[in-house]
């Protein structure tokens, strides 16, 4: 099922697009991700993930919001599609399920 698999980085990007809602474009996503994760994020990898997510149908994009500082170039603005929202919530549910199945004792043992 190559088409629907969601990688960790892709999931983060998808989430960030959700957070930024109306202003989700390349650089803003990089900034937000760096803020949230504390990692150094490469612009090219973000664009790559965006492109792939769009291919998978989780995102759609439009052009707009050019500013002088961008040399007059449009941004490509992304928003979540229905499929995107669904895959995010599915991923979250799956995690919750799995969380629940971890026996309490595990936490106690690690603390001890």
């Amino acid at each position: 099922m190559k088409g629907t698999y969601l990688g960790e980085f892709e999931e983060l990007v998808l989430l960030t697009v959700g957070i930024l809602f109306d202003d989700a474009y390349g650089l803003a996503i990089v900034d937000e991700l760096e803020k949230k994760t504390g990692r150094n994020i490469m612009m090219s990898s973000v664009h790559k993930a965006l492109l792939r997510l769009e291919d998978k149908g989780y995102l759609k994009s439009r052009m707009g919001g050019a500013t002088a500082v961008r040399g007059g170039r449009d941004k490509r603005l992304y928003i979540l599609t229905e499929a995107g929202k669904k895959v995010l919530s599915e991923s979250r549910e799956m995690r919750n399920e799995m969380w629940k199945e971890i026996p309490k004792i595990v936490w106690e043992v690690t603390q001890a």
Binding site: M43, L51, T67, V69, G71, D74, R76
Partner: protein, 884 residues
């Protein structure tokens, strides 16, 4: 899409590059993002850092997802264009068969030569690379830096022992006796349980540890095969010959019919690979060996080569410095005890060194030994020739394609008119030249396959195209591409630069624009050819000189019967029976002959009573009988030959060099000593007994009967009948031994086989280079004639004679060749000087070599051109003029 002028921008080339490779979907948005980031960074980090980071950003986008996919229609379009290029290439090729043939044939010939040279060089450089610990294996050598400086490998047997005790850096030490000495060299060989002896070559003495130093692989037994006294190791080849289908290890063999000293086979080793510096079939152990009382502990005689394997952490340079203590602590005390006067000189000038095993074959660095060597200078020389031949072939291609440009000009013009840009045309012509190159490579590989057996025979090698190696085919293709592009570069840019208007209006003078360049290229080709011709002459002249002058003895009409040492007491009877044969003039028996593969022995001599005062004269001491000088036709310049009087047992005959070294201009009657005292009764004219590279050295004869070779001087023209007669006599004396014979002149020539071989290889390459150059000139002259066809026809009509036309067409070429000669003469003179420097006896470098080379090159050029010139002059002018 322009930015505001006050803004500082990242390097434009990076932006352009990004826009060029990035696909449209991403380009604008991603670039915008990057510019925004750049702006932010510039404020924070400064322009330089921001620029750098921007470039990094751009480069990180170089991934498949971002790269522009050339749209379906463009790729289809490109494919169609390439199809067209190939079609046009095919048409041009088949339309002008002669030019195509010459271009492709010349290039193929050049490439084939290059490939062969490449294989040869690769083989020469591949020697002794197989050792796992090759970096730690060294061979010991002496480095004498006094007058007549010399480096050589053989040393005292003691050295190996000292290595073990005095130098902890040394892990293993092994000795080898590589030269003909006692049983080393050649022997009669048989199994203990057989009677029949067979003559075998390739014996050497070796220490057990040498086997592990040289990492010799074993078929039977192991690396300790020589540990026991009287053990012998044989090669797989020999084992299969004498012990087919049975185990050879543990069996007993007999050398020279000497039943008293049997040898036990300690192991069977793999045959030596072709590319190692040593090639032996038998190793006789040195364990417990002692050739005369005290031999193993004395510095008297240098007969052993010493190999060492250093510990991995040892520093060979530091060890070499420490090695000099060998001289001060061991060699000098020995000399001083003996009162040897050379001690002071040895202390000052005798040094020791270590030579890496990988350098032994090819990088001799002047170290002389008994082995067969390559020569790094020839590797360079031949590589140089390969490059030049390839250049010549490429030049043909350039010359012909620019010359034929007129024919393509219209095509170029038309293509431009219908919308082709220069880039497309360059691509087209490069495609064309790559196709030429590919075809030539295929043809070249075919030629190599055909020519390799002949070359192998000539060079004494076993070269083969390495089809099975992984890199060969890809490398061949790469080379074809590179050659194609290099050769096609100039024509491509030249041809694609035509202006369509000029071309289509017909105002472009046909191919004349680059005629000066073509001239220069022809000069280059002929300069190379003339240098090679001179080189060939000089090498062959030197070869003839060595073989035929300054020999000092008569090598013609002498048969050498080998193995006479096994005759024992019957020796004299054998000699007299041979002498009774018809056509035999003289017979002599001795182990020492002035050809390679016979015994040598160096001894120190002094004038009588001066051994404590004078420096010794080292001379070859050869044991001969009283017929020796007669048989070999040597000249006595003073005194007399040996005869049968009893006093001659202590008589000695010296050569002129020795008389000089002893400082005795009138040596007859003087007494000299080597411990035993001799009276000088004669002086023999210097004769050559080593390679002619060096000076003829001191040598003397003493009377002592016996030896391994009977040399038989035969009256002229009776050679054929003498051999069977000799065989008959031999079989009568020695029924169980093979009759082996050789001719002295052949053996002598074998000493110079290397020079001979090099000369022949060089001649071949030179001839090929000339052929390639001539092919080019041939095609060029054809083109010239074609172009000036109308002019020639008109001249003919106006009454020009054939001679006029011929001169008209050839004078240009002759001029070019003369220019080449002026350039080539000093160049080749210098190179020949360099080459001859190595020889003590060298042929004079006279002007006639250059004159002949010059005349020859003019003749070659003339005859190449004249075919077309004469044809042009003979055609009926009406035919050509009528068609207008």
């Amino acid at each position: 899409m322009t930015h505001k002028p006050h803004q500082q921008n990242p390097p434009t080339w990076a932006i352009r590059f990004f826009q060029w490779f990035c696909n449209d979907h991403l380009a604008d948005a991603a670039l915008g993002d990057m510019l925004e980031l750049y702006d932010r960074r510039r404020a924070r980090l400064g322009k330089r850092k921001a620029d750098l980071l921007f470039i990094c950003n751009v480069l990180f986008f170089l991934q498949p997802f971002a790269i522009r996919r050339r749209s379906e229609s463009t790729s289809h379009h490109t494919l169609a264009m390439y199809k067209n290029y190939f079609k046009i290439t095919w048409r041009t090729m088949s339309r002008q068969k002669m030019y195509t043939g010459i271009t492709v044939g010349g290039l193929a010939l050049g490439l084939a030569t290059c490939m062969i040279i490449f294989l040869y060089v690769r083989n020469e450089l591949s020697y002794d690379k197989r050792y796992a610990d090759g970096n730690h294996i060294y061979r010991f050598y002496n480095d004498y830096r006094g007058a007549q400086a010399e480096r050589w490998t053989s040393t005292s047997p003691v050295v190996a022992q000292i290595f073990k005790t005095d130098y902890p850096e040394v892990e293993k030490v092994g000795r080898l006796v590589p030269q003909k000495w006692h049983q080393a060299g050649s022997n009669l060989f048989r199994r203990e349980d057989r009677v029949e002896n067979t003559y075998e070559e390739g014996f050497a003495y070796a220490d057990n540890e040498l086997l592990s130093i040289l990492e010799i692989p074993f078929v039977e037994g192991n690396i300790n095969a020589l540990a026991k006294p009287n053990s012998i190791v044989i090669s797989k080849r020999i084992a299969e010959k004498y012990f087919p289908n049975e185990e050879a290890m543990g069996k007993t063999v007999i050398l020279n019919d000497d039943n008293a000293r049997p040898y036990t086979i300690g192991g069977v080793m793999e045959d030596f690979a072709a590319h190692t510096h040593l090639h032996y079939d038998f190793f006789i152990t040195l364990t417990n060996a002692e050739f005369w009382p005290g031999e193993q502990t004395s510095w008297c005689c240098f007969n052993y080569d010493t190999y060492v394997k250093l510990r991995p952490d040892a520093d060979p340079a530091a060890l070499t410095l420490k090695l000099q203590s060998l001289r001060d602590d061991h060699l000098l005390p020995y000399l001083q005890n003996n009162g040897d006067q050379s001690a002071a000189d040895i202390k000052k000038n005798h040094f020791f060194g270590l030579q890496p095993v990988r350098d032994i074959y090819i990088n001799t660095a002047g170290v002389s030994d008994e082995l067969h060597h390559g020569d790094i200078r020839y590797v360079w020389l031949f590589s140089g020739i390969a490059v030049f031949i390839l250049l010549l072939a490429c030049i043909n291609f350039v010359n012909l394609s620019t010359a034929k440009s007129a024919n393509r000009a219209k095509e170029v013009g038309l293509r431009k008119v219908v919308g082709s840009v220069r880039g497309y045309l360059v691509r087209q012509f490069l495609t064309e030249s790559v196709v030429y190159s590919l075809v030539s490579f295929a043809l070249g590989v075919g030629m190599v396959t055909l020519a390799l057996p002949f070359f192998n025979a000539l060079a004494g090698k076993q070269l083969a195209l390495p089809w099975t190696t992984l890199w060969f085919l890809p490398m061949l293709l790469m080379a074809a591409l590179v050659v194609g592009i290099i050769a096609g570069l100039y024509p491509a840019f030249y041809l694609s630069g035509f202006k369509p208007v000029d071309v289509l209006k017909g105002s472009l003078s046909k191919g004349s624009r680059s005629s000066s360049l073509r001239g220069a290229l022809v000069v280059f080709q002929f300069t190379t050819s003339i240098v090679l011709i001179v080189g060939t002459f000089v090498i062959n002249k030197q070869m003839q000189f060595i073989l035929n002058s300054k020999i000092g003895f008569d090598k013609e009409q002498v048969v050498i019967v080998q193995g006479t040492n096994t005759l024992g007491e019957q020796r004299e009877t054998f000699k007299s029976e041979v002498l009774q044969l018809a056509d035999v003039e003289h017979v002599t028996i001795s182990s020492y002959l002035p050809v390679s593969g016979t015994n040598r022995g160096q001894t120190a001599f002094w004038k009588e009573g001066r051994s404590k005062e004078d420096v010794a004269v080292y001379a070859q001491e050869w044991s001969v009988d009283e017929d020796y000088i007669k048989t070999l036709g040597m000249n006595i310049t003073m005194g007399r030959d040996f005869d049968t009087r009893a006093s001659d047992a202590t008589a000695i005959i010296i050569n002129q060099a020795m008389a000089k070294d002893l400082g005795l201009p009138q040596p007859i009657g003087h007494r000299i000593t080597k411990g035993q005292v001799y009276e000088v009764i004669g002086v023999v004219e210097d004769f050559n007994f080593e390679s002619m590279k060096g000076q003829i050295r001191s040598l003397c004869f003493v009377l002592e009967r016996g030896g391994a070779f009977a040399s038989v001087k035969v009256k002229s023209s009776a050679m054929a009948s003498v051999i069977p007669a000799l065989n008959k006599v031999w079989q009568r004396f020695m029924p169980h031994q093979p009759f082996r014979y050789a001719f002295m002149d052949e053996r002598y020539a074998r000493m110079y086989a290397d020079v001979d071989r090099t000369g022949k290889i060089f001649t071949c390459f030179a001839a090929l280079a000339i052929v390639v150059a001539c092919l080019g000139l041939f095609a060029l002259s054809a083109f010239m004639v074609e172009q000036r066809g109308k002019e020639i026809s008109i001249r003919l009509v106006m009454g020009a004679s054939m001679k006029n036309i011929f001169r008209l067409l050839t004078q240009n070429v002759v001029g070019l060749v003369l220019i080449s000669f002026v350039i080539a003469a000093p160049l080749s003179w210098f190179m020949a000087q360099q080459w001859l420097k190595d020889y003590t006896y060298k042929t004079p470098l006279s002007w006639d070599v250059f004159a002949i080379a010059g005349v020859l090159s003019v003749l070659i050029a003339m005859s190449t051109v004249s075919y077309h010139a004469i044809r042009a002059a003979m055609t009926n002018p009406a035919n050509r003029l009528r068609s207008e």
